[in-house]
Symmetry: C2
Subunit: 449 residues, 2 copies
């Protein structure tokens, strides 16, 4: 019989069906056997009655067996209905079981209420734990973040391009870059598509990319991984940096509304509380933030060149209390603290038109206006002591006419972690890489093999 | 005034508008100056009349200047209408010009009919040549290939995941893998998301990814680049390898129809002729292909373990002549010639259920059924002399119950090249990397710096 997806069962009461999927739960209750079956569309309870031709097979079936199940969709008696779960009003009366693949006994409890593993154990067994509803929910939300970013960008006329991962010797250099043995030469893993998205913007005007970036940060914190999915946008013909702020705000708002609308079950599974974005997100300069923190808490960070983690938490709490917004934009950082391409405020050139979006005490997104005037760019290249030869392709894009422009970027894993209130970015990364782990833990032995 | 996009001008005849964009062409005709302006939505002709307040500024404007243009949308006199080009029925009467950014004189002719550059020159100046209509058309078609793949996969219930780029020491090994200095250890750039998509399939059932893969092939041919966009799909609960063939066929059909429908202007710009996919693509075993080539051409490759390039061209020509199809599936390669995970034909275990889709003489896509039974997989691991420790995460996925499954993959650059009839894969790659080039040519000096 043609396969029916589990999500379609509730419309087929009284009908014979065949479903295919995994056994999530098996409960032997004397003469009857109950199962929870799952496929990519959800779960359903099945019962094998004593008279069923499948009763002998049912006794051999274990958790995670892959099965094809013939059965009848029965409405449950009123007292057994559970409106809180998918298919809580039906039950599949099993008439036949075909084992498509067996499973060995599991190394730990994978039931819905189970899976209280140390994170390192969860990661060691990612191939198995990915089947758990909690992990499935995390990665469905993440896919929705990426997908809704893409949808919104396309809707606003942005062109998707593929930014390269292999980079030549970088002008900005830095210790946090991975080196590749590139035939008899050296190359590097890209830390950001920044210069490429600016180049492509000069040809396609509005561009975005969803691409890997790499950071060789030798830190084993809850926030550091070495391979990240970066969501990047860049737009020409802006009037000021505020156009970039507005576009990034609309983007985040769209992503949040899509997750609320389309991942309700996942949010419930994870007990996640969506952050609140009010109509117009409060926007303060760095100096205003520092002044406000001083006023409200007495702590004086005025004149500091950046916000420290304590400042970030403080300003988010203050803004939340004052306006109800979980979000706040901070702009106007000291020009010389930031990369050469960030646009200096024409009226106060020591401060720039870069910005960060903070939420619940941490940074979600960065961006701002960039320099588009070639002479000004070359002036910065010189002041930042960079080798123009190493960014020749980037400079060429601006030598031949580039509009006033800006853009923004954020990490998919970080946004997933923060929306869902996860404690460790590895929970929000399907196959996390860090200084100690690539799938399994790295041992000195193996890596030298 | 609010900016109007060039694509919206034809609905605004008689109205004053402001457009923003680049100057593509400037033609000084005595007292009048003609321009072609372009933005992300297209091109329009503008004219600055002798009485215009902008006539003096117009004389200073050069190609690729970025401008804001005030003007009136005029219908062209009948004799000047050109139905073959966008906005061929209107002309913008320029009343004001604001220069947003200047451009230096171009290093070569960038006009629509121009750009007859050596490929190496085109690549050296990618930041500039990306603005040319021919290159824009190539990358719009490529974006459509990727986007329509994604649309179709989602429509068919496939879940998009992010496959990792950094890989641990690989079990398959091989010289064609890039080594990364990973802190004090070694890691590698992924050559394929194959094992990861199979893992994620065991959790999400139908999965796809659009990810970078890397090949350290020391070849400077027209077909080799080191960084590729790989489009991958994997599906569980198949009945046979034919389900995989059918899904890949529907995918390619959808991509081709989307390109035909939505990239008509780009196809015309490039003079590209879409390949023909008939209702049911001819599907032959390797042995049948060899037999047919022998019959038709007398050339005897019967018993060879794979098709060579000459065979690929021959079978495509024969199938085209016999059926009108530009496409042909070839399946049933010798089991031991292919990776350990490919499913052997149960009736003839020396041949497998792997397949390739050929078109116009070259391979477009590969795939097939994979082994899902754990015992059979372990048997192959042993016969293929692989270290199971190095693929422990992959093996775990199959140890705990995996359905009958298969999948397919193709490269975005290669499909772009072949649909558009480009001669070199670098033309279909925005920022191609090969053994001699990462953006600019690699010199020994720079790479050692």
């Amino acid at each position: 019989m043609e396969r029916t997806l589990i999500a379609d069962l509730s419309g087929l009461k009284g009908s014979p069906v065949t479903i295919k999927g995994w056994v999530s739960v098996r409960r032997d209750q004397g003469k009857m056997v109950f199962f929870d079956f799952r496929d990519r569309t959800g779960s359903v309870q099945g019962v094998v009655l004593p008279k069923s031709a499948a009763i002998e097979t049912a006794k051999d079936i274990r958790v995670e067996y892959v099965v094809a199940i013939d059965g009848i969709v029965n409405e449950r008696p009123e007292k057994n209905k559970n409106p809180k779960v998918q298919n809580g009003d039906i039950e599949l009366e099993v008439t036949g079981i075909t084992v498509l693949a067996k499973a060995e006994p599991l190394p730990f409890d994978m039931s819905e209420s189970g899976l209280n593993l140390e994170l390192s154990t969860e990661l060691d067994h990612r191939a198995l734990t990915l089947r758990h509803p909690r992990l499935q929910a995390i990665f469905k939300v993440q896919a929705m973040i990426i997908d809704s970013f893409r949808q919104f960008m396309k809707q606003e006329g942005f062109f998707e391009f593929q930014a390269p991962a292999i980079a030549p010797a970088t002008a900005e250099g830095g210790a946090e870059v991975f080196e590749i043995k590139y035939f008899d030469k050296k190359a590097y893993l890209s830390q950001s598509p920044q210069l490429y998205k600016q180049i492509v913007m000069t040809a396609f005007e509005r561009v975005f990319s969803v691409n890997k970036v790499f950071r060789a940060e030798p830190s084993a914190t809850t926030r550091h991984i070495t391979e990240i999915v970066s969501l990047d946008a860049e737009m020409g013909f802006i009037d000021s940096w505020k156009d970039v702020r507005d576009m990034s705000e609309k983007t985040v708002k769209y992503i949040l509304s899509e997750i609320s609308a389309r991942c309700a079950r996942e949010l419930e599974t994870l007990g996640a509380e969506m952050p609140i974005m009010i109509d117009s997100t409060p926007t303060l300069s760095l100096a205003e933030v520092q002044e406000k923190i001083f006023e409200k808490t007495g702590r004086d960070s005025r004149g500091d060149k950046d916000l420290n983690p304590e400042d970030e938490r403080a300003i988010c709490e203050i803004i939340k209390e004052e306006t109800g917004s979980d979000f706040v934009y901070v702009y106007g950082y000291p020009t010389r603290q930031k990369p050469f391409y960030v646009y200096p405020n024409p009226e106060k050139p020591d401060f720039n038109e870069g910005m960060d979006l903070l939420c619940r005490g941490v940074e979600w997104l960065s961006g701002g206006r960039r320099i588009n005037d070639y002479a000004q760019l070359m002036d910065h290249v010189e002041k930042w002591d960079m080798d123009p030869k190493k960014i020749e392709m980037f400079l060429e894009a601006f030598r031949y006419g580039a509009p006033p422009e800006g853009g923004f970027a954020f990490g998919a894993e970080r946004m997933t972690m923060q929306i869902l209130g996860l404690k460790n970015i590895r929970e929000a990364t399907m196959f996390p890489r860090d200084m100690h782990r690539i799938d399994g833990l790295l041992s000195q032995d193996e890596s030298d093999a």
